[in-house]
């Protein structure tokens, strides 16, 4: 209304009105320019100040920290050096440092930082999910088991990133008691990468293996979840999972689960599992077929060579490659050597697979 009244009052033409509108936009955008420029300058100033403070604090804490790691008796002396206003800086400093530490040294860091973690504990329920994520990382690294309530609650956080980070820090062999909770939360991460999730589950350690086997055998669980579990068992090289894997392989028709089961069998399977594997060596799916031939190569012997040699002539180069590597695994280097000397289409492939073994 105001704008219409203004146009009428000033008796503006259409061109003038257009110019007025455009000028308004230009002024607004010009304002943005000024804001951006000022923002860049302010940021540079703040960053420079922060960098100076960080350098000063690091300098102040570095030697006492090394002393505390060497002799835990000197922990209180370092704690007294930390002023109240610098407590969060100190926690971040220790968090950064802890990435290079393992075992007892990391335990010293946990003791060292323990009096300063209450604020981080409160941040675990901060309204901003990024702050909560950071809190999960800090508490997961330096605050377990004291702050287990906060980190376990993170598994149920509405933000997938928060629960993901909480799960990663809970899934550690040094805290096997949290393994079950991590496993229960896995359904929240159904969009994540298989290997990433499997690696997380595998890192819980052997205490979780019986539960993994039970869940792999459970047909009521989603196929993708069982596929992740199969991959985790493969990463753990869990020797007792071969039987379960072979049974599930006979029952399932799911592609991803079949591939992961075949990889698992190729790692921990035995000869009695070969029948289940052979049945998949003629399937239409290229990747299932390739993994089946690969597993056959690892578990089989000369009797499987004809199937594997035929596999080298497969229309899919992936199947052919896995078959050739399977021949090598099955002890057929002599066969590969002979094939490499022929004029057959896959002679070069035989040469390549033999060559892969040679460290140039």
């Amino acid at each position: 209304m105001f704008f219409t009244d203004l146009v009428r009052a000033l008796e503006l033409t259409v061109a003038d009105t257009a110019l007025l509108v455009i000028s308004g936009v230009i002024i607004a955008l010009f304002g943005v320019t000024v804001v951006f420029s000022a923002y860049a300058v302010v940021l540079r100033y703040r960053h420079a100040q922060r960098d100076r403070l960080w350098a000063e604090l690091r300098n102040r804490w570095e030697k006492p920290l090394l002393d505390a790691i060497a002799d835990p008796e000197s922990i209180p002396a370092l704690q007294r050096l930390v002023e109240e206003k610098h407590q969060l800086y100190f926690v971040n400093y220790i968090l950064e440092f802890s990435r290079r530490m393992r075992g007892e040294e990391r335990a010293v860091l946990r003791t060292l930082v323990a009096p300063f973690l209450d604020e981080i504990g409160r941040r675990a329920s901060h309204p901003n999910s990024q702050v909560r994520t950071r809190a999960m990382q800090t508490l997961g690294t330096l605050g377990l088991p004291a702050y287990e309530r906060e980190v376990l609650a993170g598994l149920e956080d509405p933000s997938p990133l928060v629960s993901f980070v909480a799960a990663r820090y809970l899934a550690r062999a040094e805290f096997p008691q949290y393994g079950r909770a991590v496993l229960d939360s896995i359904s929240r991460f159904d969009g994540a990468n298989f290997r990433f999730l499997a690696s997380m589950l595998a890192s819980i350690g052997p205490t979780i293996s019986p539960e993994l086997r039970a869940r792999l055998a459970d047909p009521d669980r989603p196929d993708w979840e069982r596929a992740v579990i199969a991959e985790a068992l493969m990463m753990q090289r869990e020797p007792r999972s071969g039987d379960v894997a072979a049974d599930v392989l006979v029952q399932t028709r799911d592609r991803e689960l079949s591939i992961r089961l075949l990889r698992l069998l190729g790692t921990v399977g035995r000869r009695e599992h070969l029948e289940a594997i052979r049945a998949r060596s003629t399937t239409d799916d290229v990747f299932v077929r390739a993994q089946a031939l690969s597993a056959m190569g690892r578990l089989g012997d000369e009797r499987d060579l004809p199937v594997l040699i035929a596999g080298m002539d497969d229309e899919s180069p992936w199947v052919a490659l896995h078959a050739a590597r399977g021949i090598r695994e099955a002890g057929g280097r002599g066969v590969l050597f002979e094939l490499a000397q022929t004029e057959l289409a896959y002679a070069s492939l035989a040469g390549q697979v033999l060559y892969e073994e040679v460290e140039p």
Binding site: I22, I26, V165
Partner: protein
């Protein structure tokens, strides 16, 4: 001229003014999206332990595909940088695309190559392979020597020999930072539907390089290169970050991007009949996945960095920009079915129309605008409010966008630590609008015209080589 003609010219002037305003409003809009996204990203980055990711078993094996054509000046240093990457499992496949210079000889000598077998795993069309070599010193370094066929053809040859689930397309003349791979692969680890991710390119001119690594980041001394530093900041931190925030990434730089191999092979690999094979592939991947209802995500990741040498002469820069514009035109025209087509989601409804109307047709409108503005002023037909408005949009708003890029750089990565660099970037943000920007529009217009005429080929690029630090090996 009759009054009717002047009316048309006047109308056109306002049209151009409106175009400038819309263009810059969109640029600044994407900058604001980028601002939010970068802030979130910086916080997110703090919650991830890169060392933990590097050592975890979950990082997918990657093949680096580095096509090289007449890169004798930089190829050894670039490959050295690839050999120092911090990543659990990767192979390097340098594809010598029929170089006429000493590229292959330098590689053979520097890395002690010997002939080897490597059977293709796909059959994408590519020129004849002349030989396959493997380094004795670095078993994960391979060189494929082939007949010349262009960059896309070389990438296809590399893809045919790729044996990992993901591959990284790059230029053999770029320097990838050690942590760049683990940073760029992160979306693949977090989201199983990720099929592609692009990283950031920064200008290496002026920087000090040692053992294949940029060890001291400096602004280039050459003015043309300085302007490109600003352009790259704007393109990556404002543009691509903003488009990523809108989930509409249409471009992943051919110099540094990572892809899911199976999807790219199924989609037909790189197109050999365009000079913009990087953009064409990404646009095609959008189409391919949308038309088959395949869930997919294409990301831009702002912190993995590859350093590249940019042209320092107007002539070479002009050729490069003309080629980029031809690539843009070819990619967009080939997939014009996406224009305002809701079947292609935000890529078809937002990103494609932006690139089509503002990036592809923009230079024509901009240059005609300058022309009609000049004619109007010279004929004494322009009133001063219009002149002020036109100059404001043409100069101040261009500067606004560049300044926003500088602010975003300060917010996020601060790669240029010297105060003098910041001041220089501020000055460049305003200076580029006087001449350089108009020149750029001219090159791009030439590119569009050349594409319409069906011009092919890349044009000659000359490389100076990186400024190497005085290390024992270098001396």
């Amino acid at each position: 001229m009759s009054e009717a003609v002047w009316s048309v010219v006047e109308f056109f002037n306002y049209l151009v003014l409106g175009y400038f305003v819309v263009l810059h409003a969109i640029y600044l809009g994407t900058s604001l999206f980028a601002f939010g996204a970068l802030k979130r990203y910086a916080l997110r980055l703090k919650s991830l332990d890169l060392g933990d990711l590097i050592t975890s078993a979950s990082a997918p094996p990657i093949t680096l595909l580095a096509p090289a054509y007449n890169e004798e000046a930089t190829v050894v240093e670039s490959v050295r940088s690839l050999l120092t990457l911090e990543y659990p499992e990767y192979e390097i496949l340098v594809v010598n695309d029929g170089s006429k210079d000493e590229t292959l000889a330098r590689l053979r000598q520097a890395f002690n190559l010997q002939e080897a077998h490597r059977v293709p795993t796909a059959d994408l069309p590519s020129a004849e392979i002349r030989g396959v070599y493997r380094s004795r010193r670095h078993p994960h370094l391979w060189v494929i020597d082939k007949e010349n066929g262009g960059k896309a053809d070389a990438l296809n040859a590399g893809l045919n020999h790729c044996q990992t689930p993901t591959f990284c397309a790059m230029d053999a003349d770029s320097l990838v930072e050690p942590e760049a791979l683990i940073r760029i692969v992160r979306p693949f680890m977090e989201d199983a539907s990720t099929i592609a991710a692009g990283g950031v390119l920064r200008i290496a001119n002026g920087c000090v390089v040692s053992q294949g690594r940029v060890v001291d980041v400096r602004m280039p001394k050459n003015f043309i290169a300085q302007l490109q530093v600003l352009e790259y900041l704007r393109a990556f931190l404002c543009g691509r970050m903003g488009w990523d925030a809108l989930d509409s990434t249409l471009v992943i730089s051919g110099a540094f991007g990572i892809f899911k191999r199976s999807v790219v092979v199924e989609a037909g690999g790189y197109s050999t009949d365009t000079v913009g094979e990087d953009m064409e592939l990404v646009v095609r991947l959008h189409r391919y996945c949308r038309e088959r209802d395949i869930p997919y995500r294409i990301h831009f990741v702002p912190d993995p960095v590859a350093w590249t040498e940019c042209p320092e002469s107007i002539r070479v820069l002009g050729r490069q920009r003309e080629r980029w514009q031809r690539g843009l035109y070819q990619s967009l025209m080939r997939h014009r079915v996406m224009l305002f087509n809701k079947k292609y989601g935000r890529a078809g409804l937002i990103a494609y129309p932006y690139f089509f109307f503002l990036e592809m047709l923009g230079p024509l409108i901009e240059l005609l605008g300058y022309l009609s503005f000049t004619v109007t002023v010279l004929a004494g037909r322009a009133d001063w409010p219009f002149v002020v408005a036109f100059l404001s949009v043409a100069v101040i708003l261009g500067g606004a966008l560049s300044l926003s890029a500088v602010a975003l750089e300060e917010l996020s990565f601060r790669r240029y630590p010297r105060i003098s660099d910041l001041v220089r970037l501020f000055v460049l943000a305003l200076a580029e609008n006087f001449g350089y920007r108009q020149l750029n529009a001219w090159w791009r217009l030439q590119g569009t015209v050349a594409a319409i005429r069906g011009k092919e080929g890349w044009g000659k690029m000359t490389r100076k080589g990186f400024a190497t630090a005085q290390t024992p090996e270098a001396t």
